[in-house]
Symmetry: C2
Subunit: 345 residues, 2 copies
Amino acid sequence: MNIQKQMLEAIEAELQKQVARLDQPLTKQFHEMLTYHMGWTGEGAGSDATGKRIRPLLVLLTTASCSNDREKDEAARSPYWLRARSAAAAIELVHNFSLVHDDIQDNSDKRRGRNTVWVNWGAPMAINVGDALFVLANQAILDLTEYYPADVVRQAASILNNSCLDLTRGQFMDMSYEERNDLGLDDYWPMVGGKTSALLAACTQIGALLGNASEAEQDAYRFFGWHLGLAFQVQDDILGIWGDEALIGKSTASDLVEGKNSLPILYGLGKQGKFAQRWAEGPIQLSEVNAVASQLEDEGARSYAEETSEAETKKALECLDRANPRGEAGEAIRQLANMLLKRKQ
Amino acid sequence: MNIQKQMLEAIEAELQKQVARLDQPLTKQFHEMLTYHMGWTGEGAGSDATGKRIRPLLVLLTTASCSNDREKDEAARSPYWLRARSAAAAIELVHNFSLVHDDIQDNSDKRRGRNTVWVNWGAPMAINVGDALFVLANQAILDLTEYYPADVVRQAASILNNSCLDLTRGQFMDMSYEERNDLGLDDYWPMVGGKTSALLAACTQIGALLGNASEAEQDAYRFFGWHLGLAFQVQDDILGIWGDEALIGKSTASDLVEGKNSLPILYGLGKQGKFAQRWAEGPIQLSEVNAVASQLEDEGARSYAEETSEAETKKALECLDRANPRGEAGEAIRQLANMLLKRKQ
């Protein structure tokens, strides 16, 4: 079994263990709400419903690629990276807490093809489900105590919570932008930094900390995660306008229809041309999606976004080189980065 | 200045410092939402709006009443309890996070006489304000690092988050009870334990931990907080039906009108008499409040609740004796407990 598959199994087992803190007689139904959201139970449960677990995988791959030597020593027993599993689970729990609350805030009724938690159980229960996922994340990170000295546990908890504060800042900006009509490119980076990059940077920083990396290596891994997040988000923004699904004009796959403040759109607004004029007139209709996407491309938004994504990708890969990931895990982390950065759909 | 006043000032300063993590150029308005909720800014700001800060006060009084000797030694510099202030702030931030989310869940438009956060800024923003308060709580508890060894910090964070999971469990029960018509007395204690007692027990347990109390003393303080919470809640339940405001029949001061699953009501339901019959027929109207309250009293609910409150009060005070609080703070904590347990309004 390759290392990535081994890690994904360990992650799933650890997540189930953490969530099982609610598996008690009086809170069976509450526990069920969480296992439904995590993709394990209910209609449509299975690997499509769980998501890819990229964040916890990044944690464990980082830990393993820092700690290659020790890994060899201990190969006979259990791999060194296994010690970091509760931190990996913590990050995934934070990610899922933010998804549950996000879906209420955005009034989204589907997530990975299934009903969102608030659709099934109402917003009040869904708020509480998100809260519980966040508490479990904090309990999971403290479980590192079993394998790491208290000072390392404290540092990991601190990195995690700092990234969570960034998440709420990014979320605030995103929501407050909905009421503004003076947005430009400068408003993009702090929002995306908070909403996407902060948690990815926490993945690689915590992973490096738990792999006992030097401070310089920890920094390199952290910036790798940060730029990976930015590059990934910009790519997502490009697909949200010019991807196949967005252009087909069905459902709400187009960021133009959703009115999302993505990079190409903020670029277009800054140009104050025909696109910005149309945007100011009110919501884009499904029937206009192709024409408006073309207009935005003509104004240079697509090539600007593609250059930006490439620049961020380059920075991410430079940081990864500097971090010098080692062994089989090092190979796997490079592959994962390339997969994330070169995806077309 | 007496010790309680000194503590309240330190608590307010520390809370402001913690919340100021959001006081940055791009999140000024976000910061304002939190300072509004905390009672410092906006319409109606002031001591009525902040609440009494009983929970953080309990933390500091407990720390101080364990650490009397050291306090004397260091009196010339700063009091020993001051080291625990970020833990006190953490507890108050957790309490306020739960209030902000509670108000959305209960659709309550007023809190301490002012608009709730969701009324002013909408539910999506209010969810995020609650989330941020919880993140800040976790950051605050980790700030103990300045004064305490990492292992103590980790223990404090663990106690805090265990009580937070209990909070979400209690909240789940409370919400799920709304759809049930088979409730009895047995359903009361786990709900109230989670919603009220868990956090009060965390106050006194963390306070004792930070006062370097023995394990036996920590236990005694913890159970003191737990029973204090139960006794307090039952008293609140009594006032919610037979208190002056509840009986006047104005606004929504009566738990009968609110349909709250309080102790006297669950007792009455268990009796399966006239009260239970009326309850099953649908919401109690304001005009019926006096008659239904009398009926419930006739069926023994009031005296049962009063006996229960007295029994819990007795347990709380026995635990406090066992904890043996010392010095000026010890005196103050006894007074605070008596004040809380004997309040009539």
